[in-house]
Amino acid sequence: MAAKKPKVAVFKFSSCDGCQLSLLDAEEEFLAVAGAVDIAFFPEVSRRMLKGPYDVGFVEGSVSTPHDVEYIREIRKQCATLITIGACATAGGIQALRNWKDVKDFTNIVYASPEYISALDRSLPTGSFVHVDFELRGCPINKYQLIEVINALLHQRKPSIPAFSVCLECKLRGNVCVMVVQGIPCLGPVTQTGCGALCPSYGRGCYGCFGPSDSPNTAALAERFSELGETKYDIMLAFRGFNAYANAFRRESDSHEK
């Protein structure tokens, strides 16, 4: 007899909704996936919201308010396995750019009545607060990698998600290097693959959607950028993007700030 379907929940924190929508964007696989699990809590998709505990929880978005901190701790208690999806949940997301500023100044810029707004000083990844069982990177995540993670869960094996760089993926695709040949700054040598080396395939430099690859030599790449005529400010911005608060990128961008 088939095993009981795992009870799955999808939670949202500060984010654009793109990563959880990736599941609906897997149009050919969506109904098969929905049939293999019990979707118990996924507000974006259903009014049916069952209480925990859950077998698996997927978390999208960064922790950025005092309420978020309480919420993620409660979710951890409710989920046997906790998986974070996307750059917001794994690295704090683009909204982590506030981590270098005073959040009060930011509130004043956007909102006329800042006293109504409750926000933490920093936007942080889930892993800063609770244990995470698996992190799926990307801004956005790759839907096929998400399906691989779900498939691995169903079969109780480790997901097969490569941690090598975009550079390697580019070679596999047979792309001509945009940095060597055209002198376009590219984060491919230090960024984890997952996108399929998309940007270089379209003639632009990688901008780091999947965060730092395994053992990235960011300093050497920054030096190369400098030789290509990039200013310190340019280099700081390059590392301070959608995965700005991931350790390797954060350190490199900080070292180029005056």
């Binding site: 998709v45 049916r48 810029i109 956007v110 006329a112």
Partner: protein
């Protein structure tokens, strides 16, 4: 008469986090709040000091459902600041990309977020058990929209191929050609969707709205046009801030946008349709007329049918562009940044999306203002809830709660966008 509370703590099948709270006292609606607890993300603040060229990639991250809209409004604003015009086949490719987003976003809303309300299901997964063919076809239609975005943009969510001045790489004729057969199928599926949605049971509910949309000299509006309304508004987009303002209300992390001295207004498919019916293609017009849809439609529950009519249009328009495409000589026009202000306003699937930037002579963003469509509809959604509950005050609470949720979903609200947005409590004191 008793006091009641209608409360939805976590509104389902919308993008982002919102809640609804409605209170009635002695048979009158005393309070309506569309509470938005989606955390603020401060995009306008951290855009300061970033390069003009980064705006399309950064602002795309405001919304995972309509990233193309953010990319389009931002590139148009930058080009406006620098005095650049992007026309010919590059302009056509942008329109094709936008058609792709309209198709995928509307198909998602029609079948996955909204139709379950009309048919009495919690979600499309349950719907699929009784109507497998409908849901399979919906997924196929949505996928064709996404195929366009992925081909032109590199991927469905947060495309990487859009830049100020055009694209990083343009497709060959050969690459675009296979879309034609898919689009013919999609156009026919969209015509069927119009019939399917028009057959749904609708609430009797009409309000007197000021509809606002872009209007272009010859096209159904997407990237360009003047801002017009059914009550005489007729302005250029750079005058937007003279006529509209944002205010901050305590129950919401989203700003409410209103017309100065006038208040709430209505943007999105219904506004576009009512103001631009004459610009729809022949097949889209006849699909609309066949189900009795001609302007002015003032029942917001019928927005689902208008979305389907727009899908017919988007499929036809995409097909026209694919079939007449000729590869441009360059993927982008040359961009020389200069100091100044730039304005962009395009028709996102949910309505007008306004961007304004001030750029320094170093090409860095000094100041940014972004007004998403949902922020512009918030006041109107609250007015609808007030009117709808008042008209149905004696109905059972469960029925009323569900219909209030449906009334919010009429607008396909994107709360993630508006937060810079939403939660339903209906409560009796």
């Amino acid at each position: 008469m008793k006091n009641r509370t209608i409360k939805v703590d976590y509104l389902a099948r919308v993008e982002g986090q919102g809640a609804v709270l409605i209170k009635t006292k002695s048979g009158q609606v005393s309070d309506v709040k569309l509470r938005i607890f989606e955390p603020p993300r401060f995009f306008e603040a951290f855009l300061r000091g970033r390069k003009y060229s980064e705006a399309p990639d950064i602002t795309a991250r405001i919304c995972g459902i309509c990233p193309v809209a953010y990319q389009m409004s931002s590139v148009h604003a930058m080009e406006n600041a620098f005095g650049i015009t992007v026309d010919g086949q590059l302009r056509e490719l942008r329109r094709l990309l936008y058609c792709g987003e309209w198709i995928e976003s509307h198909a998602l809303h029609i079948y996955f977020l909204h139709a379950p309300d009309f048919l009495g299901y919690d979600d499309a997964i349950q719907l699929a058990k009784d109507y497998p063919d409908v849901v399979q076809k919906a997924l196929k239609l949505k996928k064709i929209g996404n195929d366009i975005v992925a081909l032109l943009g590199g991927r469905e969510i947060h495309p990487i191929n859009v830049k100020v001045g055009g694209f990083y790489r343009v497709p060959t004729r050969r690459e675009l050609a296979p879309l034609a057969e898919k689009l013919k199928w999609a156009r026919d599926a969209a015509v069927e969707t119009v019939k399917f949605t028009a057959g749904l049971p609708f609430m009797e509910f009409e309000q007197d709205y000021e509809f606002i949309a872009l209007r272009h000299t010859s096209e159904y509006p997407m990237n360009e046009g003047k801002l017009v309304s059914n009550r005489g508004l007729d302005i250029g987009i750079r005058d937007y801030e003279f006529y509209f303002e944002e205010s901050h209300v305590q129950h919401s992390n989203a700003l409410h946008s209103t017309m100065k001295q006038k208040g709430a207004y209505f943007v999105g498919p219904l506004a576009r349709f009512n103001l631009n019916f004459d610009r729809l293609s022949e097949i889209a017009q006849s699909a609309a007329k066949d189900v009795g849809f001609v302007p002015e439609i003032r029942n917001p529950f019928k927005g689902i049918v208008v979305r389907a009519i727009e899908v017919v249009y988007a499929c036809e328009e995409a097909l026209r562009i694919v079939e007449s495409y000729e590869e441009p000589t360059a993927a982008a026009v040359e961009v020389v940044p200069r100091a100044g202000f730039g304005f962009g306003c395009t028709e996102a699937p949910r309505g007008i999306l306004y961007h304004r930037y001030r750029i320094g002579d170093d090409g860095l963003i000094k100041d940014a203002k972004i007004v998403p469509p949902t922020a512009q509809n918030l006041g109107t959604i609250e007015n609808d809830l007030r009117g709808f509950v008042a008209a149905n005050i004696d109905m059972p609470k469960d029925w009323l709660t569900l219909r209030c949720e449906q009334a919010v979903r009429n607008y396909d609200p994107c709360i993630s966008c508006a937060t810079h947005f939403l939660k339903l409590d209906i409560e009796g004191s």
